[in-house]
Symmetry: C2
Subunit: 428 residues, 2 copies
């Protein structure tokens, strides 16, 4: 992975080269804190040990009973789905990977109606075994299998903690199961059982993913100028501190669209605290040049734009044409056009004084994905250290969970009472 921060220095907002040098002392101290946390397998920091602690063979063994599946359906929400989705969406496979990571009844029915349930493996993923969305959806999936005459106990894998409902269910029905790693919040679990079971069934090379992560781990050092991960994290932090409260994550590869979703959770849930945090905005090149670029160039100077691309990919030639004014395209390729637009957009942001960072992968493959996911996690953890926030918690989502529980299940929930008190000013 290559990170180029040249276009984020002296922009508006921007960080001066001198300030970056001073910030590098903070990075050195933060790196020590991170390494100490890793050495003790502390909550959260343990995520950065996953390339060493994840056993790919255990994952292969857990999915082995499911011979020749046509589809792999992950039932899980947030961090229980996004890491797996990032990897399977990026890579080609004979097995279709699907995700039920919402509770939309229309979408759920449509997907279940379209799947060959007798050749589908279901992976239900919830650390606690009590996630309302995931368990509700799993109950619906189980019923659909019953209705289709499929024995759900033959088709279900469980990924969960050491105790709880799902662990009990697995024991009762002798289901294959995987543990979730201890001390690793869901959004940091891509390089564990949580992110890799789908990849295994889809035939991807888990060892290569973990190798990429391990090499990214090796490249962490006490200087932002020597570690791509820390370079990205430190510059993002410095820019946010100077007013870039939005971080546009804009891959120039459709295969990395899910990566932008994964990044958005990582960044928002880890850093959105104490009134701080960059808002991730997901974009896609080249498409969003025709949608968002006007705003990025001419709107408020409150953004960092992160441009991501692979250096190598399978290209597709553009046939010659006699259409007036378009002959410059013929004999070129879609990839050359995409690359020209990437560089043009990068320069057009720089010309408008908008900070941007270039992140490049060698290719979209297992190794590079492992490297990218690990590096972004390390970048996020570094940012959290620099900002002195509680990177590994997400306390602000609990209020809504209690309110929803109160609304549905009854009982004495003050949050549900607050919902009933809503002030309305309706216009219709």
């Amino acid at each position: 992975m290559y990170v180029d921060i040249g276009n984020a220095i002296e922009t508006t907002p921007g960080v001066s080269r001198d300030s970056l040098d001073r910030l590098d002392d903070h990075v050195a101290r933060a790196h020590e804190r991170i390494q100490a946390g890793r050495a003790d397998d502390e909550h959260g920091y343990a995520a950065l040990n996953l390339p060493e602690t994840t056993d790919p063979n255990a994952i292969h063994r857990a999915v082995e009973p499911f011979a020749d599946p046509a589809a792999f359906l992950t039932v899980g929400i947030g961090g229980s789905a996004l890491g797996a989705a990032t990897i399977t969406a990026a890579l080609d496979s004979e097995v279709d990977a699907h995700y039920l990571d919402n509770i939309d009844p229309v979408q759920t029915r449509m997907l279940l109606d379209s799947l060959p349930l007798d050749r589908t493996v279901v992976n239900v993923v919830s650390r606690s075994g009590t996630t309302a969305e995931t368990l509700s959806t799993f109950l619906v999936v189980r019923e659909a299998m019953d209705a289709a005459g499929v024995d759900w106990t033959d088709r279900t894998l469980v990924t969960t903690g050491e105790e709880g409902n799902l662990r009990g269910l697995a024991a009762r029905h002798d289901l294959p199961s995987l543990p979730v790693p201890g001390g690793v919040p869901g959004r940091f679990s891509a390089l564990s059982t949580v992110g890799l079971a789908a990849a295994a069934v889809c035939g991807h090379d888990l060892e290569a993913v973990l190798d990429g992560g391990a090499d990214a781990a090796k490249s962490l050092s006490g200087s932002l100028f020597e570690s791509p991960a820390y370079g990205y994290g430190a510059v993002s932090y410095a820019l946010a501190d100077r007013g870039a409260l939005t971080n546009v994550m804009m891959p120039y590869a459709e295969s990395l669209e899910d990566f932008a979703e994964w990044f958005a959770q990582l960044w928002a849930e880890s850093l959105g605290k104490d009134g701080l945090g960059q808002t991730p905005a997901r974009a896609l090149g080249a498409t969003d040049q025709h949608s968002q670029l006007q705003l990025y160039r001419a709107g408020p100077h409150d953004k960092l734009v992160t441009l991501v691309r692979p250096r190598e990919y399978d290209d597709l030639g553009i046939p010659e044409t006699d259409l007036a004014g378009l002959s410059y395209l013929g004999g070129s390729s879609l990839g050359e056009l995409l690359d020209a637009e990437f560089e043009a957009t990068e320069a057009s942001l720089a010309a408008a004084d908008v900070p941007n960072v270039r992140v490049e992968l060698d290719a979209v493959d297992e190794y590079a994905l492992g490297e990218l996911l690990y590096a972004m996690e390390a970048a996020c953890i570094l940012y959290g250290e620099l900002a002195a926030v509680s990177t590994f918690t997400q306390p602000a989502v609990e209020w809504g969970k209690r309110a929803a529980r109160g609304l549905l299940g009854g009982g004495d929930f003050e949050e549900a009472a607050a919902v009933a008190d809503k002030q309305s000013l309706e216009i219709d």
Copy 2:
């Protein structure tokens, strides 16, 4: 459509009820300006006349030659694709609607390999007939049809302006064609030929879409308290002016995910000017409660969260369960859970003093989509009037286009020279 602004008053940032009353005078004047523009079919304002000026029969006639297609492929980028995608993604159909709205070689090949080209209709959409991405992709599609032994002239519809390459191509090969409406920027063209051809082939009721738009037009009035569209536009403007520089568009229906994309273009490209403009952030309920909600509640108070949902939809029951702690879910439904989470999230934002607006549709159907798209366009135009920006232009995207053209085609482009001068600080 129903807009409830009760949770956007006296929040942080927020607008006081008194200020809203004062702002209503501005709304009255802006409404006069908009109505005058509509009366003269002025550039941009003409978009608000589309429910009257669009002839659904002309669209039906243009697609009539293509009997019994299995797939409808739109080749177009930005506003040439997003309106059509919003409608076809929201509604069920026997015909699969696909979009090539990027130039990603991997994705383009994968889609073309998967389509039954002999039963696919291609709609190539470009007002100017020179859009590099669209024309390049069309040349690739045409070659794929040749390779598959399909006569592309039998399978191609052209949607373009009165002159230019594509118009000439249509004449030369006697292709069915549709005009693009005059005076309507692409991002405002959903209720025209540009947005409706795909819907027609997918069997949707164009008249109902236009009826929804026409009724939304009737509800425009000189007061934000009497028009849902203006209520939304005025509150968004007032909040942005007071520091809500991000507008989170968060539908609680997967069928409306593409709507959020369409909205993002409308908002960003129309209002991102002169250092002003709200950054649209696309989110999805309930999924993003497990991803973005922590940030929305506990991060910087720089956001308006727009929560959108249909009041009616096909529901799906949750089977009874004996899993410990989950019995409150059994006998309920995914829809009830989704609705409880919608209301809980809305209240949890309010409890954290974060402004939010509720937008409700009767259902996700043709009529409501027409109403929603029209109302959001009117909201955007009102916002642009209040902010005194040039809503209907997008000058800041031209720099990059010239640079890309220079990089690919050569010639003397100062923008391409600026690209070559890029300052690098690469970390690897």
